[in-house]
């Protein structure tokens, strides 16, 4: 089928982009001051030349840069992302261990923000010039303007400390030994605060976008046609205006989904969520190059994946693209 060929082409393009990203990041990270061996040695509390030499040799840091790059790239080609200097584990294992947590967090936040944003945005669009519509938009603007980490801090203080309703950090209750449904509920409870915090900002974006896009769509000629048919306003809003308004939102959502991984760094730090964002920040501070490169690679791959998914969804939503010739 045509689809298969096109997706294959996209994947090929993705490989090229990923390859460029590897090189870009590799060079970028080399520009950072600080020798990873020295940092490791520093953490050990004492050093001598022998120790540094051992570390450099062990991680191949004594090789010329192009050799290091070549080794890295050829490793990645075989899905070998190297060894984390500091965590003493293969990078792939570390990332795969943390990735589900990030995907759970960002996925939940994404779905939540998209759903609530579209609902709130449609309501606001349908209530233009009415107080209820203005209140929705004022709230959206407020969430948009509020620093994410600040909301996170405030919500911990409010919901965990003063109200004691929700756990403040972590992904599950350690030592509780939950399994099955109990574990799901436990994780769910831990998920509420970080996911909501992360979702608020993006929800604000989707709300504003949905409203603008709906108002735009409601100016279109076919809306007048629909009214001339005698269709009810609610049907027009849903079937004609919203459906058309969703197209630009799909594009935006595809872009934002990738950015959420970045936003997760702050959320994961405040809520101690054991995800890839936090891992990245730690890896950066420790100059854990291989780990950092690996995380960059995976987050870029995620972004590309989201872009491809976005294109596919867009193709499904817009017949002009799917069946166009």
């Amino acid at each position: 089928m045509l689809y298969v060929r096109l997706i294959t082409m996209r994947l090929l393009k993705a490989v090229v982009v990923l390859f460029m990203i590897i090189i870009f990041n590799f060079v970028l990270i080399q520009l950072a001051p600080g020798d990873p061996a020295a940092i490791l040695a520093g953490e050990a509390g004492a050093t001598d030349e022998e120790f540094l030499r051992q570390l450099r040799e062990r991680f191949g840091l004594d090789q010329p840069l192009y050799v290091q790059l070549w080794r890295y790239v050829s490793g990645v080609a075989m899905l070998d992302f190297g060894f984390s200097y500091r965590q003493q584990m293969p990078v792939l294992d570390l990332i795969l261990a943390r990735l589900p947590a990030t995907l759970l967090l960002t996925g939940t936040a994404f779905v939540l923000s998209l759903f609530l944003g579209i609902v709130a945005g449609s309501l606001a669009a349908a209530r233009v010039k009415k107080p209820s519509g203005s209140i929705i938009m004022a709230l959206a603007l407020l969430f948009y303007a509020t620093p994410l980490f600040w909301v996170a801090l405030m919500s911990v203080v409010l919901f965990s400390v003063y109200l004691d309703l929700l756990p403040a950090y972590g992904m599950y209750t350690v030592g509780a030994g939950h399994t099955g449904l109990a574990l799901v509920l436990d994780v769910g409870k831990h998920l509420i605060l970080p996911a909501t915090t992360l979702a608020l900002f993006f929800m604000a974006i989707y709300t504003r976008m949905t409203r603008a896009s709906m108002l735009d769509a409601s100016q279109q000629d076919f809306v007048k046609t629909a009214r001339a048919k005698g269709l009810k306003n609610s049907v027009i809003q849903r079937r004609h205006i919203l459906r058309n308004a969703l197209l630009p939102i799909i594009t935006l959502a595809g872009l934002q989904a990738g950015q959420m991984v970045g936003g997760a760094i702050l959320t994961e730090t405040v809520f101690a969520w054991p995800g890839i964002g936090r891992l990245m920040f730690e890896a950066l501070q420790q100059r854990d190059y291989n780990l950092l490169l690996g995380i960059f690679f995976f987050s870029a791959a995620l972004v590309i994946l989201f872009n491809i998914i976005t294109d596919l969804v867009y193709g499904l939503a817009d017949p002009r693209i799917k069946e166009g010739s």
Partner: protein, 517 residues
């Protein structure tokens, strides 16, 4: 004459551990925090603080030390030294087995010290260079022969420095790729159970531990929570019972200390005696002038820093030797907070307002605030300061390259000046690339001589005289700024009993701990 020291020491150890009238009780798991997450748990291969704290319960050394840094028996029951101070003989317990059931013998001691640590462990190498040979006399006796008497020898057997590593699992392998690194095997009171990266490390009771009745706890959960505020919440809502040093921000400590059923101790750090210092680049710029360095000492309000930033914990040091250090000279002239005097000194040297760069220590909020306070102190006596923020990587690099004017750091004193203090001032210790040696570039032949003689002088009275003299010189030259002997508090629920029972108690104390619930 061989001196059996052990008996007296054992008595001292008893006095530390039996503070409470109640009989210790078995049972319960303790929840605490480890911050940051350690890179691995094999002591000796990795020696950073979090590794020591967790692995100190899995691995053991030959000796422990009291909070006064006197040795106590551990894997060695007793020991003696030859009259010339060069041969030390240790007698080992014969009832010890590794967590995998294999017996612990003198061969393990020789392997650990002579092979494993010699290859991997730089702090052990500092001691090993004074050792001529290590031999197993029989299964339970080991003999160390030194090339000449070495003052701090006996204080080097703490678990973090000379950890005992199982020879049968490591010999002949690539130590760093050994499969047991992910499941460490030691002789300690707790066994490694699991490590959920980013979340928790769990240890369980070693039911076959050789000391009767010990340990009392069923296990330890080390929670990993990367945010300071979240860690405080974890203590408040009862998830964890113990907050080791460095897990919550200093600003939070007074508030937490006032919570119900909360006790605080500063004990358990005596062996390390962390000492905060301000590196001052002796090579170039205004800091190369002794009067400038003296002015900095007078300009800084160290009491303010202690009271506001460190909750009044810790000591403003007199000079280069901390109050816990052996051989401190009590007759030195202290540097008081005296901005007037600082300005006079600056005038005298003709300071022209040249900018100096200040590197804070990238170890968290308190250190950042401290740098801000010092920056402000210095500005107020007319010194132009620009703070240059770095992360750990940048900080290491800048110090290693001597690319700084003023820089914060803190160093452990390791109980003996020859281990923890002289390294900062010996000109032979000037070498690019490390942030832990004589980074300031201070060179004074007399100081070198005095430190070197004192390290190998025998007995202690001789060492004391030498060390007193060196302190007087340093006091005048101010090679570095002496900021604060840090007091690291541990917060815990008061019903957690016998939490700290040694001079490295934060690392090996859970052995004796029990829950009074």
């Amino acid at each position: 004459m061989k001196t059996p020291l052990a008996l007296a020491i054992a008595a001292a150890a008893l006095s530390v551990s039996t503070v409470h009238a109640d009989e210790p009780r078995h049972g319960g798991t303790i929840d605490t925090i480890i911050q940051p997450e350690p890179p691995g748990l094999v002591l000796g291969m990795i020696q950073n603080a979090p590794t020591r704290t967790v692995a100190g319960n899995i691995y053991e050394g030959l000796l422990r030390y009291t909070t006064d840094l006197e040795p106590m028996p551990q894997l060695a029951t007793d020991w003696e030294v030859s009259e010339d101070g060069r041969t030390w003989t240790f007698h080992l317990r014969d009832d010890v087995s590794w967590h995998d059931g294999e017996p612990f013998t003198a061969e393990d001691v020789v392997f650990s010290a002579d092979v494993f640590h010699r290859e991997l462990n730089p702090s052990a190498r500092a001691v090993l260079q004074h050792i001529e040979s290590i031999e197993a006399v029989d299964d339970y006796t080991v003999e160390f022969t030194l090339d000449e008497p070495f003052g701090p020898f006996l204080i080097s057997f703490e678990a973090g420095t000379f950890t005992m590593i199982p020879k049968h699992l490591y010999e002949g392998t690539d130590f760093r790729d050994n499969e047991h690194n992910n499941h460490p095997i030691g002789t300690g009171p707790f066994k490694f159970d699991s490590w959920d990266r980013g979340t928790v490390i769990q240890l369980v009771r070693n039911d076959d531990y050789y000391e009767d009745d010990l340990p009392y706890l069923d296990g330890i959960n080390w929670h990993i929570i990367p945010d300071g505020a979240s860690r405080a919440v974890a203590y408040e809502n009862g998830t964890v019972d113990v907050l080791p040093y460095g897990t919550v921000e200093n600003f939070d400590i007074p508030r937490l200390a006032e919570l119900d059923n909360t006790c605080m101790t500063e004990a358990g750090h005596e062996y390390f005696s962390p000492f905060a210092m301000l590196w001052m680049n002796n090579r170039e710029g205004p800091t190369a002038d002794k009067r400038f360095r003296q002015a900095v000492m007078h300009a800084m309000d160290r009491e303010f820093a202690r009271d506001v930033l460190w909750n009044g914990l810790g000591n403003v040091p007199l000079g280069a030797f901390g109050s816990n250090a052996r051989f401190q000279n009590p007759d030195l002239e202290p540097y008081d907070h005296d901005p007037e005097r600082a300005r006079e000194l600056l005038d005298e040297m003709g300071y022209d307002g040249e900018e100096v760069r200040l590197l804070p220590l990238p170890y968290g909020e308190t250190w950042t605030r401290w740098a801000e306070a010092v920056q402000q102190n210095l500005r107020e006596v007319g010194i132009e300061v620009r703070t240059e923020a770095t992360d750990v990587g940048g900080w290491n690099q800048r110090l290693g390259d001597w690319d700084y004017d003023l820089a914060f750091t803190y160093l452990f004193q390791y109980g003996d000046p020859a281990l923890g203090i002289s390294r900062t001032y010996l000109s032979t210790n000037i070498e690019r690339g490390s942030p832990w040696n004589n980074v300031e570039g201070y060179e004074n032949e007399r100081v070198d001589e005095l430190f070197n003689e004192a390290a190998t002088a025998f007995p202690d009275e001789e060492r004391e005289a030498l060390y007193h003299e060196v302190q007087e010189i340093l006091q005048e030259d101010v090679p570095v700024g002496w900021l604060l002997e840090l007091g690291f508090p541990t917060l815990y629920r008061c019903d957690v009993q016998d939490l700290v029972t040694s001079g490295v108690g934060v690392n090996d104390g859970f052995k004796d701990t029990w829950l009074d619930r």
